[in-house]
Amino acid sequence: MSSSGITGFGAYIPRLRIQRSLIADAHAWMAPSLRGAAKGERAFCSWDEDAITMAVEAGRDCLSGIGVESIESVALVSTTLPFADLQNSAVVSSALQLKASTESMDIAGSQRGGTSGLSRALQSEKSCLIIGSERPVAKPASAQELAFGAGAAAITTGSKDVIAGYLAGATVTANFVDHFRAAEEKYNYYWEDRWVRDEAILKLVPKAAASALDQAGISVRELDHLIMPPVQRNAAQAVARKLGFEGKLADELKQNCGYTGAAHPLLMLAGVLEEAGAGEYILLIGFGQGVDAILLRTTEHLAAHQPMRGVKGSLADKLDTCDYLRMLSFYQGIELDWGMRSEKNSKTMLSAQYRTLNQTAGFNAGRCAQCNTIQFPQLQYCVNDGCRAPSEQFENISLVDEPCKVFTFTNDWLSYHPAPPLNVGFIQFDNGARVSMEMVDAGAGGLAVGVPMRIVFRIKEIDWQRCYRRYFWKATPELIKED
């Protein structure tokens, strides 16, 4: 048994939700059978959220009580990374303001990536941050369109203040093609569920699970939690029966989030860690071209290392939507007429982006050494007209976690915006900084002068001509008003 284990966790689920029945109703003319599976609601990404932005939010949630200093390695796991050749985890690392010496790595290509990445981290000597983040895209009217959600989970590993110790791990690799998506394709292609259940889920999962349990000398009856991601309906129940597991099946997050691919085992693990007590055994399964099984046991440190938001907080922090076409548009499932204003050239000047990363990725305002005025952007001289000290003397003050409120805003119906109206206005930070910002996920009537806001990492603009996207920080209401 290793002394390493999980030291922290965090989660993020997009605020936008839609009732599955609304999706099924839209397709009822050609696929009435969808209504049978149209229970509960699913999460979906706004136009400006992707695997990178969700990873940053989950990472922030995880690191809120840990800090970035100890992190020596970061891995981003996803099958829906926005960039094929540009290290996505480097974008996440710069937004999280991890040290430049932190290793970074993308893990892609399989829904088993979340557990494979975690397994490597748990066996590493380093303090690792592993983030699973997924924005799965399903063909309209497919079963997956109902089953999928979106979200991210972040886990830190190390050997200090371990909240869940690593007991054992096992892997079975198999070229089992339950589904696939070719590199340039938009949607997955699936084989029959019953074959997947009989030949893979019920044969490979027990094999990996037994191996992990044997290594640790633990019997299945001692297990408290089984985390089996819902790769198909009732997969967890079938596995539990086969294993003879009688403990608690982890919440699949089906009712209010949906399946999040490579992120899902980690998201479910985060959910379990919010509920579990000390000394409980957890068996975590990852599935895709084989199986990973990871055996963990919670410690007495667990209660003191809960995230700010976690899964529970993310599920509660929601904004109900009722337009299926909105979701379809955000996922490029329908091409709408956005008018000539959308023809704007959105080319990013990469050299300008690099030299300003301190401000744009870190959202670092400058505190003037002479007059203490905190200001964003940091320009050449202090903005205070009684001071004008040069910016070489500024100290970086990140605005990312600084409390802030709406100072002014408007709902702009004229500008091109993929989620109209564009909410834009001034955010007044408690430390004195004031920044003109985009405001997102407010819902109808969700904004008012003085409303407390929080800062979130989002896509600033997508350049569809060159397929580049740039990121920046936006503001969102701290709390969503109940209807």
Partner: protein, 398 residues
Amino acid sequence: MASGIKDKVAILGMGCSQFGERWDKDSPDLMAEAFDEALLDAGVERNQIDAAWYGCCTDSVNVGNSAIPASTALRLDGIPVSRMENMCATGTEALRGATYAVAAGAADIALAIGAEKLKDTGYGGLPPVFKGNFNELWLPLGSAPAGFAQLAHGYEHKHGVSREDIKQAMAHISWKSHQNGTLSPKAHLRKAVSMETILNAPMISDPIGLFDCCGVSDGAACAIVTTPEIARSLGKSDLVSIKALQLSISSGMESTTNSWDGSHVRNTRIAARRAYREAGIDKPREELSLIEVHDCFSITELVTMEDLFLSEEGQATRDVMDGFYDRDGGVPCQTDGGLKCFGHPIGASGLRMAYEIYSQLLDRAGERQLDSPSIGLAHNLGGVPYLSISAISILGLM
């Protein structure tokens, strides 16, 4: 303070094209239309012009960079021609360049011309503006109305005015300008519009509705300036001189720190104080015969009445609703229809405002002529309230 520009420069002649959707005219045509009128009015030939300033704001439509398009359009052979660009204050900037050249003795006769061809974009409204390599990375998207709409929150909060009262005052501002537009033959929009239509118009950027927005137009306006002495030597007797020309630009304070209350345009106040001092005006509300202000949106006109120290702070809505700024009110505002109805070809607007004041002062305003005006103020505002270019010119009879 420097001795200022007061009465050092006189207007020799002015011209203004028909504003509107000039589908059959390009920018050089519009420039020529204004230029021909100004030459005729001035009684000089083009080869008597020593230097010229050409203002145009937008590069994405219109004629492109530099002063060459103006120089070739007007055949200004060999003389210095400069292109001015300072967003919506561009027209006043062109006038400032020409005026200062004459005052400095660098030119005897100088030309200021502004032109914009906005109706070649293919859609209504202004084309988006490139904000700069760094700013594009962080500044949010947002239309021009979105920048000005935010004044409403600041104003409501500071003065305890309700949204309903602000909307009523905004609507009255547009209603009044439409009334004035009916008497303004060169205006883009010359139809009266009811308060009900204005109040029920589609929302553009809350609380700015469609009728709270100025016209987006094609047009050109032009001034030929010289010294009062030369003007008299050329046979001019009723002289309109420049009493003040002031410009104030944000340094980022309003948008970066918490020192601005969001209810006003700080630079307009700075420029106004300086302009009144330069012109020797102590009581603008009593002394000014008329004003042309930058009513890009009705909310802008509302707060401008306080920023120009015409209405007491928090009293602009009451003054507006009382008709103080109507054509028959205490200080008539936008007698030609303003940006709202005369139209807003950006580079031309500052000069168009000066043209209306000049016309009124010389008793040439036709049906909309005021009774014996002696001094008028033009206010031209570029940018957004929190990052602004405020330009004020005061013109009066000598």
